[in-house]
């Protein structure tokens, strides 16, 4: 119980905001007739924040409220942190008629990516989570018997998703945690754009940026050093579009980061090799899925996968 998995943030957010100090930023922004509004909160089991810039503060506030409403509706559809979400219901009952739109999009994307990666990305690894987290609470690693028992319940072909219903074979459980934050970045960005907000930076756990910083400077995205807490390993600047990072440090079961929350569906254990992967893409959903798939595939096969996706780029960070 004391061995709670350590949680750390993947990316250190909009460094652009920190440059020049708040006063300088305000002066610059006002010079361009723009104001910025920021709203932070909790979603998907982590902290999230939205920054929107534009001429009219009331429009910005309304847009931010809609951004949060969008995240709430995604949580209601697909969050495993909520026992009453549609996904939690599906896992309990094995079938869900009339799945909400968000859930359908996520499951369809997950299954398609699973097909493209030959099952290296697999949304049905959820049965491994309790095995690992309970073992970690006892400061142990799960035995091969426990892993084998979970592995027989895993396989993306055990899921059928149509517009009418999602069905799981008995014992199958889905997790969309590898996609939900990236997808949320897409949906929130679309909600802001629908309100006419052209300059925005969203942190839903994964990141999206549009336009520029209100002072006219490009958005910058700092990528955390997977081993140095609070340190920045690289900066993506200018940053527009979406970025997602998967890392072994985000929720690690062992102090050496060998065991963490990303599993190889073939073995039930965490893949070795990479410490973190950051993928930039035109969509948060795509970026999020690819980053997780790359962790499992490793550097070479991961690079090949991303190369086949239009507008995507990948950065790898090896385990020490």
């Amino acid at each position: 119980m004391s061995a709670r998995p350590t949680r750390r943030r993947a990316i250190l957010g909009a460094c652009g905001l920190a440059l020049g100090g708040a006063a300088a930023f305000r002066a610059l922004a006002e010079g361009r007739g723009l104001v910025a509004r920021e709203r932070a909160g909790l979603a998907f089991g982590t902290t999230v924040s939205l920054v929107a810039a534009g001429p009219d503060p009331e429009v910005l506030e309304a847009a931010l409220s809609e951004g949060f409403a969008a995240m709430r509706s995604i949580e209601a559809a697909a969050s495993l942190f909520r026992p009453d979400s549609a996904l939690s219901r599906l896992n309990r009952e094995g079938v869900l008629a009339d799945p909400p739109e968000h859930l359908r999009v996520l499951v369809a994307h997950a299954l398609a990516l699973a097909g493209r990666t030959g099952g290296a990305f697999d949304p049905t690894v959820q049965p491994l989570w309790p095995v690992w987290s309970q073992a970690a609470a006892r400061k142990e690693r799960p035995g091969s018997e426990a892993l084998a028992a979970a592995l027989v319940r895993i396989g993306w072909r055990r899921v059928v998703c149509t517009a009418e219903a999602i069905r799981l074979e008995p014992g199958t459980e889905l997790t969309l945690n590898a996609l939900i934050q990236g997808y949320a970045a897409d949906v929130v960005m679309a909600a802001l754009r629908a309100r006419g907000v052209a300059d925005a930076f969203v942190d839903t756990g994964e990141f999206g940026a549009a336009g520029t910083h209100p002072d006219g400077a490009p958005w910058r995205l700092g990528i955390a050093d997977p081993r140095g807490e609070g340190e920045i390993a690289a900066v993506i600047a200018p940053f527009t579009g979406f970025a997602a990072t998967s890392g072994d440090y985000h929720m690690a079961f062992s102090p050496d980061f060998a065991d963490h929350h990303i599993y190889d569906p073939a073995t039930g254990r965490s893949p070795g090799g990479l410490a973190s992967v950051t993928v930039t893409a035109p969509s948060g959903l795509v970026a999020d899925g690819l980053s997780t798939a790359c962790m499992v595939l490793g550097r070479e096969r991961g690079a090949a996968l991303v190369a086949g996706e239009p507008g995507c780029a990948v950065r790898f960070s090896e385990k020490a």
Binding site: S2, R4, A40, L42, T47, R138, K139, P255, D256, A320
Partner: protein
């Protein structure tokens, strides 16, 4: 924000207050702006949770956010009615680890603070919670309890004269914090107030090996290879020299207060001694270091401080560290009992207030610290733990989960309740046996004055059990709106007195309370007695005016209860017609208009005897109304009373005897003056006359019309 600038803050606040009055049981009303005022930058108020009325308060940390606290209003989670029936509202900020970051009073209607002590003591009271943990039950102690040695992690200092109100506040803080903790932090109320103790009679003779086999005694061994693995990448993988399989530390971990563990490990005599020292409800964890004693990894080696909370071994449960302190049991040689390996050892005491549940899994964690660098050395620590799971049937759960707080106030006030019981046990026989003490014209007045002095001093000031119209207002509020009558339970002496008064109302009428048990009434009577030497002449109230004035108290009662029923803010102001709060609860420590009013009534009493009681008192009016169900016509009368004799009527200082000789029970204070007269052959005119005629007349009760 949208719509900003339309409402000026003052008006908004006023509107808020009005809304609060119109919907007294409504949810918390704080807006984002109000919350931001309480948590100014650099803190950031996050988006309100969509399921629980909780605001995450965030802190920016290297470009992303961390949760600093969860802020919420107690009213949303635990609307516990206060002294007057209205629940207080507190703004509480709870850190993710369950520590109170902030507690502020948003609104309250506790009479003792409003206009009484002022709100400052209340504000200071709630500040005591900052830094305490919601994971432990917190008690309200006496004033200065913490300075007096009460455990500072589980006690807040109480406020004199505000016991009931501070208990309500405490309950609001704890109950709402636990509701939020359960919803947001993932720990529940299970451990709070829970007392799990080992069954003292359950004992099996078991060897150390058998105990280890069962998992009741655990061993935590760390080899050099394991330490190297844990320190990998830190530059201090290797420390000292030896084979990878060498054991660096080997701890034996055992919960000693389970007899089958402790008695087997310590032996009978030492176990008994330990249990005596430990005290019921507390727990003891033994850690014995069986590894190499001189190894730097040994957590109980030379650097171990006896009697302290050890820095390298911790007990935790549910992810939180439990306070465990070395008991400084004198170490007699190595090892504690037969079969235990030799080595340094400690026995850690876990206080019952720590919320430790020995029937649930708990963890002992050992920290191995290594230093990197020669000159500016840096400490690097790695932790190793072992979990103990003991079978639940070794234990009894002493206190039920979520035991309501009111039981505590009953237990704590038993001496007061005993005193009240004694008073009533004296009073009832005296009133029943009217030919006894009552008939004794010399001793009875002295008894009465003495009793009233006790009523004033003990019931009024010591027990703080002055019954008040405020309780009736609380009943009205509870009946119409909150449907929660639990507030009555938090003030045991008053409740006991209320029960007696209701019973006496049915049997004898209003006067038992008004004439004997009302502290303010006693104060008036004692004042009149003290001023007797001044020979103040009573103002004669003309009978018609007297009858009209008697009705005023019913109007006051109707006004107060009507305003309460209508949820009007005037209700509390109307209740000030009653001077009890000023004179008794606050012992005249109040702003001057209130003091002037209360003193004025006592002065009035010198000229118009008990004028307040007879003409104004809303509580008296309520009791008089209920007293109309009275069963017994128990004040004895004679056929001659009224016609022709008017002695008692004239002597009755309350005007409660009608010209026809009948008792006006709703106005009777049961002072017993007329009963004394009627039993005194020297005073009772018909008896004096009869004596002259050498006839005996037996007094008998006469029916009165209602």
């Amino acid at each position: 924000m949208r719509g900003s600038g339309v409402l000026r803050p003052g008006w908004a606040a006023l509107l808020l207050v009005l809304v609060a009055f119109l919907h007294p049981a409504a949810a918390g009303e704080l807006s984002r702006k109000d919350i931001e005022k309480n948590f100014p930058p650099p803190l950031v108020v996050g988006e309100k949770d969509d399921r629980l009325p909780v605001w995450p308060i965030l802190k920016q940390q290297a470009g992303s956010y961390e949760v600093f606290a969860y802020a919420f209003e107690s009213l949303d989670f635990a609307p516990i009615p206060g002294f007057g029936g209205t629940p207080p509202d507190l703004l509480i900020a709870l850190a993710p680890d369950g520590t109170f970051r902030d507690v502020k009073v948003l609104s309250h209607k506790e009479p003792v603070f409003l206009e009484g002590l002022g709100s400052e003591p209340l504000f200071a009271f709630v500040e005591q919670y900052v830094g305490l943990s919601a994971r432990q039950p917190i008690r309200v102690g006496r004033p200065n309890a913490r300075a007096g040695g009460a455990p500072p992690q589980t006690t807040v200092d109480g406020i004199a004269m505000a016991t009931a109100s501070t208990r309500t506040i405490n309950q609001s803080v704890l109950a709402s914090a636990l509701a939020v903790a359960r919803g947001k932090l993932g720990f529940g109320a299970a451990n709070v107030g829970l007392n799990v103790q080992a069954k003292p009679d359950l004992y099996d003779r078991l060897s150390l090996a058998a105990l280890v086999e069962r998992g009741w005694v655990r061993r935590l061994a760390v080899t050099r290879a394991e330490a190297t693995q844990a320190f990998r990448g830190t530059g201090v993988e290797e420390a000292g020299e030896g084979a990878p399989g060498d054991v660096l530390t080997d701890l034996v971990v055992a919960l000693l207060d389970v007899p089958s563990i402790g008695r087997n490990l310590l032996g009978e005599a030492r176990f008994a001694a330990l249990m005596r020292e430990l005290g019921p409800g507390n727990h003891a964890v033994m850690v014995l270091s069986a590894g190499p004693a001189d190894a730097p990894e040994n957590p109980i080696g030379d650097s171990f401080v006896m009697g302290a909370v050890p820095d390298r071994i911790t007990v935790s449960q549910g992810g939180l560290v439990v306070n465990a302190r070395d008991m400084a049991v004198e170490r007699r040689g190595a090892g504690l009992g037969e079969g235990l390996p030799p080595g340094d050892w400690t026995i850690l005491r876990i206080d019952s207030a720590a919320g430790f549940d020995p029937s649930a899994p708990w963890t002992l964690t050992e920290k191995i610290v290594r230093e990197r660098g020669q000159i500016l050395s840096e400490k690097i620590a790695r932790e190793f733990s072992v979990e103990t799971r003991l079978p639940a049937d070794l234990f009894t759960k002493v206190a039920v989960e979520g035991e309501p707080d009111w039981t505590e106030s009953w237990r704590a006030r038993w001496p007061t309740l005993l005193g009240l019981g004694l008073m009533l046990a004296v009073l009832v026989p005296v009133l029943v046996r009217q030919k006894g003490l009552v008939a004794d014209a010399r001793r009875f007045p002295a008894f009465r004055l003495a009793f009233l002095a006790v009523t004033l001093g003990f019931v009024g000031y010591a027990a703080q059990a002055q019954l008040s119209i405020v309780t009736l207002m609380g009943l009205v509020r509870a009946a119409l709106r909150t449907h929660d009558f639990a507030f009555l339970l938090y003030d045991p002496p008053s409740l006991v007195l209320w029960a007696f008064v209701l019973a006496s109302l049915v049997a004898w009428g209003r006067g038992t309370f008004c004439g004997w048990l009302c502290p303010f009434g006693a104060m008036q009577e004692l004042a009149a007695f003290a001023m007797k030497p001044l020979k103040i002449r009573q103002v004669a109230v003309p009978p018609r005016l007297d009858r009209a004035l008697r009705l005023v108290k019913y109007a006051v009662l109707a006004g107060i209860l009507g305003a309460t029923a209508a949820a009007s803010p005037l209700a509390d102001a109307f209740a000030e017609a009653e001077p009890f709060k000023t004179a008794i609860t606050l012992s005249f420590l109040r702003t001057w208009p209130f003091v002037a009013y209360a003193v004025g009534l006592i002065v009035l009493n010198l000229f118009v005897y008990k004028g307040f009681c007879r003409y104004l008192c809303p509580l008296g009016a309520a009791l008089a109304l209920v007293g109309r169900v009275r069963i017994l016509d128990w004040i004895p009368r004679r056929a001659e009373c009224g016609t022709p004799c008017q002695l008692c009527k004239v002597r009755c200082r309350y005007g409660a005897i009608r010209p026809d000789g009948r008792i006006d029970y709703p106005e009777c204070f049961q002072c017993m003056d007329c009963v004394t007269i009627i039993h005194d052959p020297g005073q009772c005119v018909p008896q004096v006359v009869a004596k002259r005629h050498a006839k005996r007349i037996v007094p008998r009760p006469l029916a009165v019309s209602r």
